[in-house]
């Protein structure tokens, strides 16, 4: 167990390092960072002093060290567009993303897991067909298009919910469904196929032979085993949630980190973009780590490996 978690922790750490390295290389490839802060009217002295402050007179590996040191202290420099520390802007925007991601996650579990179980248990029924449809749309419809179509239908034509922004409680419905659908579809497919395999297994037959009722067999014996494959893939699906939040926040003008990343991108606000990318990676890595712990909890074969 400790060995397993230590391994996952090291992996998370390597991921963060790799992302920071990519970001650092990109920032140097894109040109002299002084261009961002100084304009054409700056003197040579300004230019040199700035270089000293940013550590540009040192070799590249030392510059990367400085960058890492700053990142560890939560210091990503100043946002060019907002003219204030990047960390401040990121902290301001993070809650909206966490809220949206959380609601979408709950939505995906509430839809995906029960529908996956029902599709497997009632294989071939209308439930199964419905499940297949939900999964197919979630897997195949581009989320940005799904979001736009839902805005058109539910906000523009029917006027049930606001089309964009974060105002009333009901403004989160459409973005959360759009973001959660893909994840719900993934959960549904995984739970269904795992459940089918499990229901076919000898240990389920033995549990039934012990006299366990079919209901208990499904909810206790089968369910816990059927959770293992979705958890195995959770790392990948959480990655999709990060990608999704970029798109969904753009479509719905949701004031979170995803939209911030796009804004920073098109404002050429490099320090801000760095901060957002690192924050996203950190969020992702922590979420994946929590999933790994859960995984070990559900599957004793991991716990006692």
């Amino acid at each position: 167990m400790q060995k397993y978690l230590a391994r996952r922790f090291v992996l998370a750490f390597i991921t963060l390092l790799s992302v920071s390295l990519i970001i650092f290389i990109m920032s140097r490839v894109s040109g002299d960072p002084r261009h961002i802060y100084l304009d054409d009217y700056s003197t040579q002295e300004d230019w040199d002093r700035m270089g000293e402050v940013l550590g540009l007179d040192k070799p590249y590996y030392q510059q990367y060290g400085l960058f890492l040191k700053g990142a560890f202290r939560g210091d990503f420099g100043e946002s060019v567009r907002e003219a204030r520390p990047v960390t401040e802007v990121v902290i301001e925007r993070a809650p909206a993303t966490l809220l949206l991601g959380g609601v979408a996650f709950v939505f995906s579990i509430l839809i995906g897991v029960p529908l996956g179980i029902l599709s497997a248990v009632k294989r071939g029924s209308w439930m199964d067909t419905l499940g297949k449809l939900v999964a197919l749309i979630g897997q195949s419809a581009p989320p940005f298009w799904l979001g736009i179509m839902m805005i058109f239908l539910f906000a523009v034509k029917l006027g049930w919910v606001p089309p964009y922004g974060k105002q009333d409680w009901n403004s989160i419905i459409l973005p959360a469904i759009t973001l959660g659908w893909y994840y719900a579809a993934a959960n549904l497919r995984l739970v269904r196929s795992a459940m089918l395999d499990v229901l076919d297994s000898e240990y389920i037959k033995l549990a039934r032979a012990k006299g366990v009722s079919s209901r208990t067999v499904i909810l206790k014996h089968a369910f816990r085993n059927a959770l293992i494959p979705p958890l195995t893939f959770a790392g990948v699906t959480i990655g999709a949630l990060v990608t999704g939040s970029l798109v969904v926040e753009t479509v719905f003008a949701w004031p979170g980190l995803g939209r911030l990343a796009i804004e920073a991108l098109f404002a050429f606000d490099y320090p801000l973009l760095q901060g957002v990318v690192i924050t996203f990676t950190l969020l992702y890595v922590s979420a994946a780590f929590i999933v790994d712990v859960l995984y070990a909890y559900v599957d004793p074969r991991i716990r006692y490996a």
Binding site: T15, P142, F144, F233, T243, V247, L265
Partner: protein, 321 residues
């Protein structure tokens, strides 16, 4: 044995044919349009009409209810001042533009057809390059095992953990928007899937008798890997590749939607959806709906076809995502 998925195969062939023969099929130039043709709805939808009075010249007060004699004569040469006549407020669809036109008067149908071409090119190149990298990595990792395997598989894990779309955005802003950047990013995205699959197969195949036999008879490692082991993985790879094309198309359209994809005015499905969405509130639904539908239909068909292939070629892969 499952039935051949005829509808998905038909739709996929449609997309492929559209992509290959776009210049001959498309009724208009996908990148040029007349501004006076902007926002024409699809052929089957009628325009909205209103009854208006013909007047000499418009004053601010009666703009909504009147029409000038000059305009009226263009519609009906017998029109006179004071007449009541039916006038189109929004244009009706015409058979000239079957799926309507966008905000620059470009034919949506032609753009959707050319969009298939972009998706086709990107998919083929990405699969070719990214797939080959993944296959070689998987062969090497599975065959040598040990440290090499460990290193390559950790690389796969790290890749799965990096929010690649953000890296893609950073790349695009740093190096500029181009087809090659997108293909590079997509290759980075898909190779681990192939590597993992091939590695798993190699681990199984390398203990087969015919492989040991080849080894004993002195075949080189490269020969064993490509002549003896690789063919055994082809069925699986076909399935993986089919399902990956769907993912590649979705990702490419997402990048294009975010403005980091194929540079305009090249008609990519994702950027068409993005361009049209501002006008949606004004009732211009066709410029976003059709390219989005094209993406969805293509990916749905690929998934259904891939599922069928998987069940037919390699039932062991049922769990494959």
């Amino acid at each position: 044995m499952r039935r051949l998925p005829l509808i998905p195969i038909f739709l996929l062939s449609l997309v492929v044919i559209a992509g290959i023969f776009a210049p001959w099929i498309a009724p208009h130039d996908p990148e040029k349009g007349e501004l006076r043709d902007r926002h024409i709805p699809p052929a089957w939808s009628g325009g909205e009409t209103a009854i208006k009075t013909v007047v000499e010249s418009l004053s601010i007060n009666d703009r909504g209810s009147s029409v000038t004699l000059k305009d009226a004569l263009e519609i009906d040469s017998t029109a006179q001042i004071g007449d009541q006549m039916e006038v189109y407020v929004t244009p009706a669809g015409s058979t000239k533009f079957l799926l309507g036109t966008d905000h620059l008067g470009r034919d949506v149908l032609s753009r959707v057809i050319y969009g298939a071409r972009i998706s086709l090119i990107i998919s083929i190149v990405t699969l070719g390059v990214g797939g080959s990298i993944g296959i070689v990595m998987g062969l090497v990792a599975g065959w040598y095992g040990g440290f090499v395997d460990e290193f390559l598989m950790r690389l796969v894990d790290v890749k799965l953990a990096i929010p690649l779309i953000l890296i893609a955005l950073v790349l695009v802003i740093t190096l500029g928007q181009s087809l090659w950047i997108i293909v590079t990013v997509l290759c980075l995205f898909i190779w681990p899937r192939f590597a993992r699959q091939v590695r798993g197969e190699v681990l199984q195949l390398k203990h087969m008798d015919y492989v040991s036999l080849a080894k004993v008879s002195g075949a080189s490692t490269a020969r064993i890997l490509f002549i003896h082991i690789f063919p055994g993985t082809i069925n699986t790879l076909i399935v993986v590749a089919t399902l990956q094309v769907g993912i590649v198309i979705l990702l490419e359209s997402t990048l294009s939607f975010l403005g980091a994809g194929v540079p305009p005015p090249t008609p990519a499905w994702g950027s068409m959806v993005s361009e049209g969405r501002d006008k949606l509130a004004g009732g211009v639904w066709w410029t976003t709906t059709f390219p989005g539908l094209a993406i969805m239909i293509t990916v749905v068909s690929l998934n259904l076809f891939g599922d069928w292939l998987r069940d037919t070629l390699d039932p062991r892969l049922r769990q494959l995502e």
